[in-house]
Amino acid sequence: MSGCPGSRTMDFSEKTNQEGNDSGKRPSQLRQWPIQMHLVSPQAPYFQGKDVLLAADCAAFALGDFHKDYLKGKSIGIACPKLDSDQEVYVEKIKSLIDDAKINTLTVIIMQVPCCFGLAQIAKEGAEKASRKIPVKQVVVGLEGNILSEEWI
């Protein structure tokens, strides 16, 4: 057990405890474009007064029901706190989403690896800088797509 847990190789291909089923179709709940945090603008109409999801890039791949349980009804921005550059811009955008787009709530959804908590930090900083106050929620996703915690911060 050494090295960065964020990039340590793990293989769950033998996993058999699969609940749920593959029948039926799940429609996409995405209602906007673009979605990457450098590309989105807080002025975009899809953010105004909305519940916003700030998702770590990996989260949507890990969570089986990402669309149904988390994206539905929300606008989204995605980012990677480990690899993206110019992350100060993200803090400013969060601040602007709160103050200018007057979003209703912010939900940050991150992976359990330590480096991912940087995204929650960005959200917190942006929220602290904003003059409006809104509820901010943090959801932590396990590597195998389980929800480890979900709480207001």
């Binding site: 009804g73 209703n104 509820p135 709480e151 207001w152």
Partner: protein, 265 residues
């Protein structure tokens, strides 16, 4: 058993007092409740016990009501001790919980205030009325109104548990009217009786809200509703201004200085 689940809790406890004792063991304090019209199934549901605890509780209740029945005991894995649940409130609800803290600080001082009133030659009307002002303005207008006008609206406000809360608020207002009358007439016994009754009532009431009602409401709120409620509560606070909570906080600090020092003297 289904029939029993749909019965009012007070009826059940009156007929089978043992059930009240069992509920009490699980931290479900229905026995002293002033209304008691919640249905047994709602009472159990509202407390959000873990599935193992709930199964054992239901088994024991069924045994207490139908001792002759052959009910099979649920298998409980004693090695799996359930971790004590930490309550995580949503931000608007957390704000209400924080307001309880200031109210509880006044409640804690009430016995000393009563002693002071009893031992002074003439009733310190000014002090009693200042406490009444805190209760009427901060606890009732500022805090209870947010509960009644905003929070309770997010659930069915005809639900029994909400009706109990409304009733507690009303009974409290009645006690405070009596305290004012006592202060006007210089009637120490009247002040004592009703301020102590108010203290007991509110202590239980706040405990019910912090531990049962608020978490129950929080579990039903969507993220969108949490945001909306947060905004409404902030607007309600803004309409009275920042100075109001600060003023009453200062009042409590002064009161604590007066009465807590007297205790240590």
């Amino acid at each position: 058993m289904d029939k029993v689940l749909n019965k009012e809790i007070k009826q059940i406890i009156d007929t089978y007092p043992e059930v009240g004792r069992i509920l009490d063991e699980y931290g479900i304090g229905c026995v002293p409740c002033s209304v008691g019209s919640c249905l047994l199934k709602d009472v159990v549901g509202i407390h959000n016990l873990d599935p193992q605890q709930e199964a054992t509780l239901m088994y024991r209740i069924e045994k207490a009501i139908y001792p002759e029945r052959n009910v099979s005991e649920p298998k409980v894995d004693l090695t799996k001790k359930s971790a004590p649940k930490k309550i995580s409130y949503s931000p608007p609800v957390k704000k209400l919980v924080d307001e309880h803290v200031l109210i509880k600080r006044l409640l804690a001082l009430i016995p000393s205030i009563v002693e002071y009133v009893e031992t002074s030659i003439k009733v310190d009307k000014d002090l009693v009325l200042k406490c009444v002002d805190f209760i009427r303005t901060y606890a009732d207008k500022y805090h209870h109104m947010k509960e009644e006008d905003i929070l309770f609206k997010y659930v069915d406000d005809k639900a029994e548990i909400i009706q109990v809360m409304f009733k507690d608020h009303d009974i409290g207002r009645g006690h405070i009217r009596q305290v004012v009358e006592g202060a006007e007439k210089g009637n120490k016994a009247q002040i004592k009786e009703h301020i102590l009754a108010y203290r007991d009532l509110l202590t239980q009431h706040i405990k019910k809200e912090d531990e049962i009602l608020y978490p129950w409401i929080d579990r039903q709120l969507s993220v969108t509703q949490v945001g909306e409620m947060f905004r409404k509560c902030n607007e309600a606070d803004a309409s009275v201004g920042d100075e109001l909570p600060r003023k009453y906080e200062r009042f409590i600090v002064e009161l604590e200085e007066k009465f807590l020092q007297e205790v240590t003297k």
